[in-house]
């Protein structure tokens, strides 16, 4: 063993044994984050702040799930918004037509999403790069057009009307603003924790290997197609959860939820926040929504402002905000070690 190899082995050993420790740390962080978010209504009466967090939950779940594809697997999907829309519509329709308890509708929606994602994924993940991007976009437009033309079932371009019934279950009444807020926070934290576990698991590292060199992964005996399909379905499930939170927030579902612009926003959020860190998309979500909410208060020319911001990130920082911060810390640490 050379000195260099010995040094690496030393570094790797604690990483492996520390995997369980890191999991505990993640759970602890999630618990603290949830406690902080859930106690927010005790300190502030601002409904707008609670609304903001609910929307952050919806978009945050969606954008982070997109990052499982873009950042971790190298699959740039332009059609991820279809699952956001699918979640909102399935959940809304089940609640309106069947009147089942909310948890049943929730699980049924996830099952529907998984089935649809498996079929679409099986076709798409064989393709690479631009072909994958465009075929996912095509499927998104297919779902969007179906929603528009199947007016008797989906309400067409006017969306699901009449409100989504929200009967109380287990003492939770989602028609109550604070209850809805806490439920959204819980879904966000649980969703992020689950995605974090996926990203840090051996499967997550397999995805990174596929991203970096798919041929090599294949030669090592990994079934690349199956791994890609699995992550495609998993990401769809979390996007669908985001859609359900949004459907509950607006008490309806609208074709815009399944339009390509939602996918575009997801990509934009990932560019803003950064794709190389797990929380990058979450930071991007908060940034985008903050920007959107403040800029639209003052001007209707928000497109120009958002355009300038994205130019700044793309040309100025050349990466997302959290990527930039992480890199800056790494450089400082390296400089410190070198001293």
């Amino acid at each position: 063993m050379t000195e260099l190899e010995a040094g690496r082995a030393e570094r790797l050993a604690p990483v492996r044994s520390g995997a369980a420790l890191q999991r505990y740390r993640d759970v602890l962080i999630a618990l603290i984050a949830f406690a902080v978010l859930a106690s927010l209504p005790l300190f502030t009466g601002s409904k707008a702040l609670l609304d903001f967090v609910i929307r952050c939950s919806a978009y945050g779940l969606f954008a982070t799930s997109l990052n499982l594809l873009v950042g971790y697997t190298g699959l740039t999907s332009f059609g991820h918004g279809m699952f956001f829309g699918l979640g909102a519509y399935s959940f809304g329709l089940i609640m309106q037509k069947l009147g089942v308890p909310i948890p049943v509708a929730f699980v049924a929606t996830l099952a529907i999403t998984a089935a649809v994602a498996a079929v679409i994924g099986a076709i798409c993940v064989r393709l690479k790069e631009i072909y994958f991007a465009f075929v996912t976009l095509a499927f998104q437009m297919l779902i969007h057009s179906t929603i528009l033309s199947w007016a008797s079932f989906t309400g067409g371009d006017q969306g699901l009307r009449g409100g989504i019934p929200r009967p109380a279950f287990l003492g939770i009444n989602l028609a109550n603003h604070v209850h809805l807020y806490i439920a959204s926070c819980a879904l966000l934290v649980l969703g992020l924790l689950a995605m974090r576990q996926i990203a840090q698991s051996p499967f997550g590292y397999t995805l990174r290997m596929i991203r970096d060199n798919a041929a090599r992964a294949s030669f090592l005996g990994i079934d690349v197609w199956r791994a890609k399909l699995t992550v495609f379905v998993l990401a769809a499930l979390f996007a669908s959860m985001g859609g359900m939170v949004m459907a509950l927030f607006v008490s309806g579902a609208y074709p815009e939820f399944a339009y390509w612009t939602i996918s575009g926003e997801g990509i934009f959020i990932n560019m803003l926040g950064g794709v190389s860190t797990f929380l990058g998309p979450m930071v991007g979500t908060v940034l985008l929504l903050l920007l959107n909410d403040t800029v639209t208060r003052f001007t209707e020319y928000h497109g120009i402002v958002l355009g300038v911001v994205i130019l700044f990130f793309a040309l100025g920082l050349r990466k997302g905000l959290l990527d930039f911060v992480a890199e800056w810390f790494a450089q400082r640490r390296d400089a410190g070690e070198g001293r």
Binding site: G156, Q158, R161, G162, V250, S251, E256, E300
Partner: protein
């Protein structure tokens, strides 16, 4: 080089700091002094493809609010409008509406959203219980469907079903007079296009039973090229064509169909033609296109209506749109209701608004009514006429008969299972 500035806090910044301090101490007092004003929130579409309509809604509201404020305000309270862009996205419309009420302290809402956005704002009104007047959504189900009904929401907008009844009976009378039996339709492929065309042909056939639709075309919404649609219609050789294309779609369609001289080969009925946004944009407006009135200052033919159109034009240097008169009417309703209730409280206003009839330049007989049982606008000027290529564009409009509208509307509601 001499240095004129000394380090530390300059006199200017000290003054600025003191000023800011004084402001922050005084702010609550200033706010209290203004508490007499009433804030009205309005989400509408100010960017994107239909921004022109949203802007014209804002213009009309501000024109009327100025008048109300000059006359003493809403039950003695000056109106302050808070108008925000929703980009035409329902989730944004819902967010903006909630923010207007929860954060900005708006006590009333004017909903300047079209189609899906209006249903999203409707849910916000249901949730927050705030008085909401829809001012732009023509979807009949918004008020006709009892599932949508809430005591605090009203609709001050023309309605698809009313247009179809009047259009159908007008077209039938022309069809009988000129012997137009073979018809074609060409409408945008989404719920509004499909529903409106379906209802129009239903009433056309009811009044003129021997009419036959021999060709249907459904171009995509915002389609740039209509060549295949135009040639398909020309090949079918119909005697008349119905279309509910609107805005930019209608104007590009007419410009492209002009190349094939389509308008000399058949009678054209385009319900959304008589709106200044379409009339003034078409390059060569053909003579004799039949159209429903959207907003036109020659109909109703009253000095009040003409004066209103001119005042709007003088202020904003453009003609009002269909959305303009609807938004203006909503403010007129609020002003009159506040006078009657002697209050600007949402609940009291809602009580008075039910069944309220007001004087209005856009009324068929000089008045319009907020019908009590389904909270929707009736009695507005509605009619059809034919175009000429220059002002006044639609010189004569044949008014629709509200008695027939009411009868057929009741029948339609029954057929839909609404009553």
């Amino acid at each position: 080089m001499t240095k004129t500035r000394t380090p530390g806090i300059s006199r200017r910044s000290t003054l600025a700091l003191m000023g800011a301090g004084a402001m922050s101490v005084a702010a609550p007092w200033v706010a209290r002094a203004q508490a007499k004003t009433i804030k009205i929130g309005m989400p509408t579409i100010l960017s994107g493809r239909v921004a022109q309509l949203g802007t014209s809604s804002r213009n009309a509201v501000m024109l009327e609010v100025e008048k109300v404020n000059a006359a003493g305000g809403l039950a003695g309270r000056q109106i302050e409008m808070v108008i925000r862009d929703s980009k035409g996205q329902p989730q944004e419309a819902a967010r903006v509406a909630r923010e207007l009420v929860n954060t900005d302290g708006c006590e009333l809402l004017l909903d300047g959203e079209a189609s899906s956005g209006s249903f999203a704002v409707h849910e916000v009104a249901r949730d927050l219980g705030v008085l909401c007047i829809h001012t732009c959504s023509e979807a009949s189900s918004l008020t006709a469907d009892p599932k949508q009904h809430i005591p605090n929401a009203f609709r001050c907008v023309r309605q698809g079903i009313h247009d179809s009844i009047v259009g159908g009976s007008y077209a039938a009378s022309i069809a009988k007079a000129k012997g137009l039996k073979k018809w074609a339709t060409c409408s945008p492929d989404y719920a509004y296009g499909r529903d409106t065309t379906g209802e129009f042909t239903l009433y056309l056939k009811r009044f003129a039973p021997d009419v036959e639709v021999i060709s249907e075309s459904w171009p995509k919404l915002f389609q740039p090229d209509y060549t295949e649609v135009v040639t398909k219609i020309l090949q079918a050789k119909p005697q008349a064509l119905y279309s509910c294309l609107w805005g930019g779609d209608l104007t590009s369609y007419i410009d492209q169909a002009n190349i094939y001289a389509m308008f000399s080969q058949m009678e054209v009925f385009a319900v959304n033609m008589a709106d200044y946004t379409a009339l003034t944009v078409v390059k060569n407006l053909p003579k004799g296109i039949h159209s429903g009135n959207r907003y036109i200052k020659t109909f109703p033919t009253t000095p009040e209506n003409a004066a209103w159109g001119d005042a709007y034009r003088a202020k904003y240097n453009e003609y009002p749109t269909n959305w303009s008169w609807q938004n203006a009417t909503a403010v007129m309703f609020l002003a009159e209701a506040a006078k009657k209730a002697n209050s600007a409280d949402g609940k009291k206003l809602a009580e008075v608004l039910k069944g309220l009839t007001i004087k209005c330049p856009f009324g068929a007989d000089g008045t319009v009514t907020m019908r009590g049982d389904d909270h929707t606008l009736v009695g507005y000027a509605i009619g059809w006429g034919t175009t000429i290529p220059q002002e006044p564009y639609v010189p004569e409009v044949k008014a629709g008969d509200w008695k027939t509208i009411f009868e057929l509307e009741a029948e339609w509601k029954k057929s839909k299972g609404y009553t």
